[in-house]
Amino acid sequence: MKAVYIREVRSYFTGLTGAVFAAFLLLFAGIFTMIYNLSAGYANFEYAMGNMPFVFLVIVPILTMRTFAAEKRAHTDNLLYSLPVSMTKVVMGKYFALLTVFVLPVLVICLYPLVLSFFGEVYLPAAYGSIVAFLFLGAALLAAGMFISSLTESQAVAAGVCFAVLLVNFFLADLAENLAAFSLFERYYDFMDGVFDLGTIVFYATVAGVFCFLTVQSMEKRRWA
């Protein structure tokens, strides 16, 4: 698992993917912090974080599209199958690499509330509560994107399908009110009101786990073609 993890992280940062991802995330975090906290003068960092999830619609497909689709295209999947590493470990190695690339810019975002607190009264538990929720939401969406990537050979198809799936999930509450509970995004907004809903965190973690499991199954199934 470590071998896969090292390779993946290295590849994200030798290419531009990791840097572009971080820049994009930080750009929007900066914009919203500017709008809500600096211009409008709210002391609530969670308001800025409340606008962040839509960023996932763009960055999750871009980050996850290559995870498994590129392996098939480059025929390196045969290498993964023939190495003495179980598919579960391969998937987890890749998933943790994705998380690493995601967590690094979020760590930078963690500094924002601290900086803001120098200039006013920031309620830090709510601010960090929203960042934690953001992390878990991202973790769930990245797992879903990885699973979609394992279904196809084409990175473009993976990115397109992933975007569509996230978009539907994003607007799920508006599309069908009784399905709102299944919208990962909808649950996130509770955190904006300063509510730290442990149930939602567990829900996100479960979604991430389920999609990692499905990815393993999807890769295993290919051997039975």
Binding site: K2, A3, V4, I6, R7, R10, S11, T14, G15, A74, H75, T76, D77, N78, L79, Y81, S82, L83, P84, V85, S86, R223, W224, A225
Partner: protein, 320 residues
């Protein structure tokens, strides 16, 4: 080392491999020979755990490739049909990944990477991006990867594809050397290659094993006895009369040549016949200017054994 028994792989429309069984001992080079689409790649993919068989089993060093996946794969080095490279990394980074995945670490890992780079003659490109490497180099990095951690069985799918003649010779030498210490299976549709490096040849046609023997034995198999070619300064009638005195000859085809000599192709029962033929001509006072044992080459064996295959249209017919 490797035991393949009753392997069958069926797809919805066709059967890629049917009831294939063979055993490979601990050392030696085995050649899997067959026309495109015969099932070579499918067989190798199943042997390395990349593909599940419809029925039948494969065991590597006594461990089943599906039941004891980890133990079996630890003993394997595999070069698939297309070298499985991450083009956005350098050979050294790539080999580092494979070596770690195979459980190497620290000093041992560094030593092994240098060893395989050296063996495949790729040290000079070790730190260049693989995206920028030629096909020959990529192929050799693919082979290097299979040799990491000194696996007991090395499986190479068409290892010399894309190499230039000098590199082909180098890789063949490397394969022959590997075969002295471990089991090597290579697939090829190039006959001269198999003839040059393989101690045993398995000929596969349409997913079935049609022959398994040494290249020499396969050549004999086709001729059905030994063939002898002669040339003598005589007419067809003269030569025919002389040959009739030699009981070992089963069949003789004689042909008059323009320069007053006769050429003959003889099928004989035992190896002693050449001697008898020589004395027969000498006794009759007829000059025998040529006398040699002829063997069908592997190419003819191949064509005969796989005769029912329609020639595949282009490359890429191998069932995936």
């Amino acid at each position: 080392m490797i035991e393949v028994s009753h392997l069958t792989k069926r797809y919805a429309a066709h059967t890629a491999v049917e009831d294939l069984s063979f055993t490979v001992p601990d050392v030696g080079v085995y050649g899997l020979l067959g026309p495109n689409g015969a099932g070579k790649t499918t067989t190798m993919n199943i042997m390395t755990g990349c593909l599940a068989a419809t029925s039948g089993t494969v065991s590597i060093g006594g461990y089943d490739i599906f039941e004891d996946e980890y133990e079996a794969k630890r003993r394997l080095g595999y070069l698939p049909e297309l070298p499985p490279l991450y083009l956005d990394s350098t050979p050294r980074e790539y080999l580092d990944f494979v070596a770690r995945a195979k459980g190497l670490a620290g000093e041992e890992l560094r030593r092994d990477i240098t060893r395989v780079l050296h063996e495949t003659n790729t040290l000079d490109v070790a730190d260049r991006l693989m995206r920028n490497l030629s096909k020959g180099y990529r192929q050799r990095i693919g082979i290097a990867q299979a040799l990491l951690a000194s696996p007991e069985a090395v499986i190479l799918d068409e290892p010399t594809v894309g190499l230039d003649p000098r590199q082909i010779i180098e890789i063949r030498e490397l394969i022959a050397e590997l075969g002295e210490r471990r089991a090597v299976i290579l697939s090829s549709h190039i006959l001269s290659e198999v003839q040059a490096v393989c101690g045993t040849v398995l000929i596969i046609s349409r997913g079935r094993l049609v022959a398994c023997d040494t290249p020499e034995a396969l050549e004999r198999l086709l001729t059905g006895g030994t063939a002898i070619e002669i040339r003598a300064e005589a007419t067809v009638e003269q030569a025919g009369a002389i040959l009739e005195q030699v009981p070992e000859i089963e069949r003789a085809e004689l042909k008059q040549q323009d320069n007053g000599t006769v050429r003959g192709q003889l099928t004989v029962k035992d190896d002693n016949a050449a001697r008898e033929i020589f004395f027969a001509f000498a006794g009759a006072g007829v000059a025998l200017t040529e006398l040699h044992e002829a063997r069908a080459n592997l190419e003819e064996v191949f064509l005969e054994l796989t005769a029912y295959d329609k020639p595949a249209a282009g490359k890429g017919g191998d069932a995936q």
